[in-house]
């Protein structure tokens, strides 16, 4: 693989990481919950799509909007039924419960779908690419995933800055007790935040299921990549999360180009640790205190 090609693939990979990471960041931002089940929650959409495609027998792409709606509802109910009670008990409770939830999800998926790798069928697009020259080709699917990341982040920003509910999200994020005193039902806002997080995760989750295979134990990797993207980019900034994803993606693909593909993941982690040491607040952090 050529250097330029590696860099381009890294950027596109970053879009995927950003799609997984914005939900994690949104949840942490609105309710200060470190959701250790987030990685596993990115796997569920692929299995939901698998079931839908199995029943309806259509192209896996068409399942995405349905999966998004289902995952929004799952997120809302998960938050209202379980996590709302955890959030108010502080950081440690959140870490412990979501860690447990992560194990439950992975095992439930293994029970229901076996530990085997599965794939989603989306027809020809899986292998189509745009050939720029003989050394550089851009796959349609990775490009589409990257464009979706841009669209999702733009829409999320518009939602946060222009809508009444987005404003309430930011108020809850600033000071949840003051927000309650202003008439905001934080339990509802948190549930919507979790719903939106899982709705966004569905896009990346299903597309990744189309692009490669998936199995129930992928959650831990996804969680770490999402964390790294959020931290590199800086808390509270969606565009920062995209930047973080791109930096992580490029570190991985360029690392693979330089040292061989066995080094891909490790180089990504090393670059993350270097950035964490030199710029712990991330590149585009937006944190405001009173």
């Amino acid at each position: 693989m050529d250097w330029l090609n590696a860099a381009v693939q890294g950027i596109l990979l970053g879009g995927l990481y950003a799609l997984f990471a914005v939900g994690l960041s949104l949840v942490f931002g609105t309710m200060r919950l470190v959701n250790l089940a987030h990685g596993d929650l990115t796997i569920i959409p692929a299995y939901v799509a698998l079931v839908i495609v199995g029943v309806a027998k259509f192209n896996a792409f068409y399942s995405i909007p349905i999966v998004m709606v289902i995952m929004f509802i799952v997120g809302y109910l998960l938050q209202r039924g379980v996590l709302n009670f955890v959030v108010v008990r502080g950081d440690i409770a959140g870490v412990i419960v979501t860690f447990g939830l992560s194990i439950v999800i992975a095992n439930a998926l293994q029970e229901g779908f076996t530990a085997n790798s599965q794939g989603l069928d989306a027809g020809k697009i899986e292998n189509l690419s745009i050939t720029i020259n003989e050394r550089l080709a851009i796959g349609w699917l990775p490009l589409l995933i990257f464009v979706m990341a841009l669209v999702v982040i733009t829409l999320l920003q518009l939602f946060m800055n222009r809508t009444k509910m987005g404003r309430a999200f930011r108020a809850v994020s600033d000071d949840q007790e003051a927000a309650r005193l202003m008439g905001i039902n934080t339990r509802h806002i948190w549930a919507v935040a979790m719903g939106v997080a899982l709705l966004i995760v569905s896009i990346g989750g299903v597309m990744m299921g189309i692009r490669t295979t998936f199995h129930p134990l992928l959650g831990a990797d996804r969680l770490i990549f999402a964390f790294e993207a959020v931290i590199i980019g800086g808390m509270g900034s969606s565009w920062g999360t995209l930047l973080g994803g791109v930096i992580l993606g490029m570190a991985q693909t360029l690392g693979a180009r330089a040292f061989g593909s066995a080094w891909q993941i490790l180089v990504g982690h090393v670059v993350f640790i270097i950035i964490l040491a030199l710029r712990p607040q991330g590149f585009l952090a937006k944190t405001v205190t009173a």
């Binding site: 009444k164 404003r167 309430a168 930011r170 108020a171 994020s173 600033d174 000071d175 007790e177 003051a178 927000a179 309650r180 005193l181 202003m182 008439g183 905001i184 039902n185 937006k286 405001v288 205190t289 009173a290």
Partner: protein, 232 residues
């Protein structure tokens, strides 16, 4: 019927009892001032009325309706809004957005963003500024304006003069009659007795979780208030 009735309310923080069998009646159109030293239970009472704390015993009636177990956002819907201690404006939101959050429940009434800017003209030029960059006095004006945006029937004010310059405190108390004219009853908690007694129609002096003295300010002597305040 009183606008707010607190009947035999006891409030605890875990094992520590902060309020003992408290009884308060607030009529519509009053400026009801609660004074007392630090830790006397004034803020606890206010937070119980706002719905952040819940009484272990007793009842709270708002316009005759029991609200003991109602969450804060429902109380805002009924017309109880708060100016919390320490102002608690939303730092990352603009001044204008802070006001809009105050109106989140869409209660109808005289207060709009324009009306708030008219009441506190100092906020008008700061409209687009982040609230974190405001001075203490500006933040306090914003916190009051934000609470008014809920078009409350009862506004709860916690230590509005704390940490502010006397000239700013004066300007804030000057706004009180305007709030009353617009149908808003005021329940104010203060450690600083001097200013609040000039506007209050009723005063209750808190001492160690109980009311040591209450009445119309003009009927009470400075000696009585001092004695009740310090418990001597």
């Amino acid at each position: 019927m009183s606008l707010l009735e607190i009947e035999n309310v006891s409030v605890f923080y875990e094992d520590f009892q902060a309020l003992y069998d408290l009884n308060i009646k607030i009529e519509e159109g009053e400026i009801f001032a609660c004074i007392g030293a630090n830790g006397a239970g004034k803020s606890t009472m206010l937070r119980t009325v706002a719905g952040v704390l819940f009484p272990r015993q007793g009842h709270i009636l708002f316009d005759g309706t029991p609200i003991d177990n109602m969450p804060p956002h429902k109380r805002v819907e009924l017309g109880i809004s708060s100016v919390p201690e320490g102002r608690r404006v939303f730092p990352s939101l603009s001044v204008h957005e802070n006001l809009l959050i105050g109106g989140y429940r869409n209660r109808k009434g005289p207060w709009t963003t324009d009306a708030v800017y008219e009441l506190f003209p100092l906020l008008q030029p700061l409209k687009k500024r982040q609230a974190s960059g405001l001075s203490g006095g500006e933040q306090q004006a914003l916190a009051i304006g934000r609470a008014l945006m809920a078009n409350p029937r009862l506004i709860l004010m916690d230590e509005v003069s704390l940490g502010l310059a006397p000239v700013v405190i004066k300007r804030i108390y000057e706004a009180f009659p305007i709030l009353l004219q617009n149908g808003c009853t005021i329940l104010v908690v203060e450690q600083d007795v001097q200013h609040v007694l000039t506007v209050a129609t009723h005063v209750a002096c808190f001492l160690e979780g109980r009311i040591a003295l209450q009445g119309v300010p003009s009927d009470l002597t400075t000696e009585q208030i001092t004695a009740a305040y310090f418990g001597v």
